[in-house]
């Protein structure tokens, strides 16, 4: 068995536990795993931002400052119930995700999808909706990195959204991004009416992509919107 990321040989440790339980497939070597930082303990209840190392003025009770701002804005209040991110977006994870989505190493989804399965246990949802790519971007990359997580997890995905805006997001300021409407359209309203939607994406940075998707879904009758991302930037 080789580490899915660095290719090192993995020697599985046989313990008493593993003799009795069905052995879980090991995908990453210890060295790679050690470089990932799980988000646990004290973090924002709405967006998973860790409070550890965050200046006090960026925190208000159980919420981070960004979430306070989102929730304080009548336009955005109550759109996103809760986002759960699993890992800190550190330099190592940046490299892993970049190899996954930009270089196109699809099989890394096999590791990330496990994190998805784990997180979904804590959520009550009806539909898994991946954040879509534009046609152009999808062709370029060959696959949608959010969709691949759901497929590899063996779960059913609902392609409820379509992206109509293609410009690179990173070049815009927060304000610009927030005020861009119409990034997405709804594919089929019947699919989502009255449903609890779980949005799936790779990274939560400002949350604006997820907020736009969430807002649109709610406008079209979705009951609630939560989200999962691999990383919290």
């Amino acid at each position: 068995m080789r580490c899915l990321y660095c290719g090192e040989k993995i020697i599985p440790v046989v313990s008493w536990g593993s003799l009795f339980s069905r052995e879980e497939e090991i995908l990453l070597c210890e060295q790679c795993k050690d470089q990932l930082t799980l988000i646990e303990g004290d973090c924002c209840v709405r967006c998973s931002r860790p409070f550890d190392g965050l200046a006090v003025e960026y925190r208000k009770g159980e919420y981070c400052y960004d979430c306070v701002r989102w929730e304080g804005d009548i336009e955005w209040n109550g759109i996103l119930e809760r986002n759960r991110s699993l890992y800190l977006y550190n330099d190592f994870l940046k490299e892993v995700i970049s190899r996954y989505k930009f270089r196109g190493d699809y099989v890394l989804a096999r590791f990330f999808c496990k994190t998805l399965i784990q997180v979904l246990k804590d959520f009550d949802y009806d539909l898994l909706v991946p954040i879509p790519l534009s046609q152009e971007r999808l062709y370029e990359r060959g696959f949608n990195q959010a969709e691949a997580l759901i497929i590899e997890a063996g779960l059913t995905l609902t392609p409820a959204l379509k992206r109509i805006h293609t410009e690179k997001q990173s070049k815009k300021s927060r304000e610009e991004r927030i005020h861009l409407s119409n990034i997405f359209t709804i594919v089929n309203e019947e699919d989502i009416v009255g449903k609890k939607v779980m949005l799936i994406d790779d990274i939560y940075t400002t949350g604006s992509t997820l907020m736009h998707a969430g807002k649109l879904l709610k406008q079209h009758g979705t009951l609630s919107v939560s989200s999962f991302t691999i990383a919290r930037g």
Binding site: R103, Y106, L138, G142, F143, I151
Partner: protein, 451 residues
Amino acid sequence: MILDSLRTILAGKQLLREEIPFELVDSPFISKRSGIEFDKKGRAHCNRCGNSDPELFAVFPCARCGKRDTYCRACIMMGRVSECTPQYGWIGDMPEIVAAPLKWSDSLSAGQQVASDRVVEAIVRGEELLVWAVCGAGKTELLFKGIEVALATGKRVCIATPRTDVVLELTPRLKSVFPSIKVSSLYGGADDRHQFSPLTITTIHQLLRFYQAFDVMVVDEVDAFPYSVDPMLQFAVKNARKESSSMIYLTATPSLKWQRECRKGKREFVTIPARFHRRALPVPESVWCGNWEKVINKGRLPAKLLKWIEQRLLAGTPMLVFVPNVAWITKLLPLLQTFDGRVESVHAEDPNRKEKVLKMRQGEILLLVTTTILERGVTFPGLEVAVLGAENRIFTESALVQIAGRVGRDIDSPTGNVTFFHNGKTEAMLKARKQIVAMNIEAKEKGLIDE
């Protein structure tokens, strides 16, 4: 016009669509080679990097071709090659290569001259040649004449090396001696990749973007990691050469297999047994120091090593002390630092590696404890070297020859001490010493050293 730009980019290349910064036009001169092919047994093969290890292929639902598409993971860092991903190249006339006069007035040493003549000969005849030049022989200069001759006869030249440092060091030197041509410098993150040039200096990795491009391929430090152990890099070199091309290997430490082939007359080679400053190579001394691991684990320094270091700290002699791995650096460093503040360490993952090497050069650091990471490339005037635990397997014959080769490089201090501190002599230690002694004898016989 657009076709001209495409030719510049595609000549001798194998590029993915997204690596071409222009619109593609329909042209009989633009070739498409499939990226992944299957053999009769259904085993995948990557045409870009030569991978055929089933563990290094994966399948994904491809949005481009709509199929379950096999892709290569071995070369994924250069972008994904899958079944539906063609590699673009150029099959029309190649851009012209014109003569470029060599602008260099220094002269070669007698040893370099012999090798330089052989290089020219190999290039003219399209042959393979190993240049076995001792550390500090000055191997760059001996290529100059050969490159000049190659360019004058319309041949495209490449110098490839496993290490980025070497690319950065060679580029300005070659630019200065061939001022009339464009010299491409390629390594991860470099910008020159879209130009066509008669002379390319590159890391071996970057050769994965070339296909049947070069008439002359020079591979520097063939024995260096990772080229020596990575079949992908060896494939890349082969794939980047034209079918009839010459191949020049440069090294101070050929593998045992190659040494044997040289002795048996199965490999064309030329040696430069002496340094340009005409002084013999320092011959390593061996000093037994018993179970040094135990001594250090008790928080003390092996007495003989301590004495060796103390003398040099007093004299202000810069030192490198090589240890088998990072764990020993961690143990040894605090012991040494209690004695003298001018002691530091470097290892492969050390983020401050460059700064420390610089401080050593400036004399702020007198002793660096290090792993084999510094076995190549670095030189400090007046340096002396110790290897602690020379019996460790990591210190192969070639590693020890390279380490000894750090000493006496400078014309102003052409000698110096090299000591292997060990707990039992190994074959590698004996062979390393023998190789160095043999080179000195040969150099003396050929009149290449003055002592």
